[in-house]
Amino acid sequence: MKIDITVNGGNRQIDEGTDLAALVDSLVKKNSGIIVELNETIVNRKNWNSRIVEAGDTVQLISFVGGG
């Protein structure tokens, strides 16, 4: 079954029961240096494959970039 979530401000449909690790891997080639926020709370990398993304969740993939 598909559920609706928000990723980086945009709507996405994912399979129910998808964990954060699988979600991140489906979005980016390399996940190094990426910070993941789930519903405005950072999820530690080591917990990515134990956190299941639920319907209505807001996910942000963030990284450090060059800036002045």
């Binding site: 980086n8 390399k30 942000q60 963030i62 450090f64 970039v65 002045g68």
Partner: protein, 261 residues
């Protein structure tokens, strides 16, 4: 020979008074080389959502070990958003230096001093070393100092404009009246601008576009470091006063030729 007193911010002694922003470089290696050639100790970085279609690597991996990394809160439109960015940087990478940048207008990118004071107060209370980027207003600078800012960063001119020290008179006011270090940030275009700021008595200068957009970034980064050091020495030496008329440098007697009759 005059000995300078060290620049101390957030309990750290900083030897190079030239701070460098890491945005807009031609490549990450160009940025890395610019840090190296300028012997830069303090840099700024930003935080952004990952561009899912083309995620590039983590910029922190390109910074030499020992670099003091200051996260800017660019993108924040109010104090709350700035506070959130700082907390994210701390949780994600242990970064505790934050350049508060609260901007609500995309044309001039002028900082909102009111929101900046609010964010500074909150983040100082959470243990951050806070360097707020601000429009050089004496009242706001006093507030920032009062709430615990580690330094104050008045703009020289509009971000990325390269116009130099358009706000010089107001920066001078801050230099005279504010006790925490003054770091001139924004609008610096050339090393001579940076030297000028240091001669005025600023404690440090931050530039980004001036280096990233130059023809040769690593070389100009070195020039900036030299200019900042030169300007600092000039300030410490107390430069001469300027005059309206000439004053000869060679003796006025013993000329080789008689006066014409």
């Amino acid at each position: 020979m005059i000995k300078d007193s060290p620049l101390i911010i957030g309990g750290k002694e900083i030897k190079n008074r030239f701070f460098l922003g890491t945005g807009k470089f031609k490549s990450k290696s160009d940025m890395k080389e610019s840090i190296f050639q300028g012997q830069v100790e303090v840099v700024t970085v930003a935080m952004r959502r990952v561009d899912i279609d083309r995620h590039s690597e983590n910029i922190l991996e390109y910074l030499p070990e020992g670099t003091i990394v200051m996260v800017n809160t660019s993108g924040a439109r109010d104090a709350e958003e700035a506070i959130r960015i700082a907390r994210l940087a701390k949780a994600a990478a242990g970064i505790e230096w934050v350049k508060i940048e609260v901007i609500n207008d995309s044309k001039y990118l002028l900082p909102d001093n009111y929101e900046t004071v609010k964010a500074t107060e909150k983040l100082v209370s959470e243990g951050f070393t806070v360097l707020p980027y601000m429009h050089p207003d004496l009242y706001a600078a006093r507030e920032l100092q009062a709430v615990g800012a580690a330094a104050v960063m008045p703009l020289g001119s509009l971000i990325g404009s390269g116009q130099g020290l358009e706000a010089r008179r107001f920066i001078e006011v801050l230099i005279r009246e504010i006790d925490v270090p003054i770091v001139v940030d924004a609008g610096i275009g050339r090393p001579s601008h940076a030297a000028d700021a240091m001669e005025m008595g600023a404690d440090a200068v931050l530039a980004n576009t001036a280096v990233a957009a130059a023809g040769d970034s690593p070389t100009i980064s070195k020039a900036f470091s030299m200019a900042v050091a030169a300007g600092r020495l000039a300030y410490l030496s107390k430069t001469m006063e300027s005059k309206e008329i000439a004053a000869a440098s060679s003796p006025l007697t013993g000329f080789l030729f008689d006066e014409k009759k």
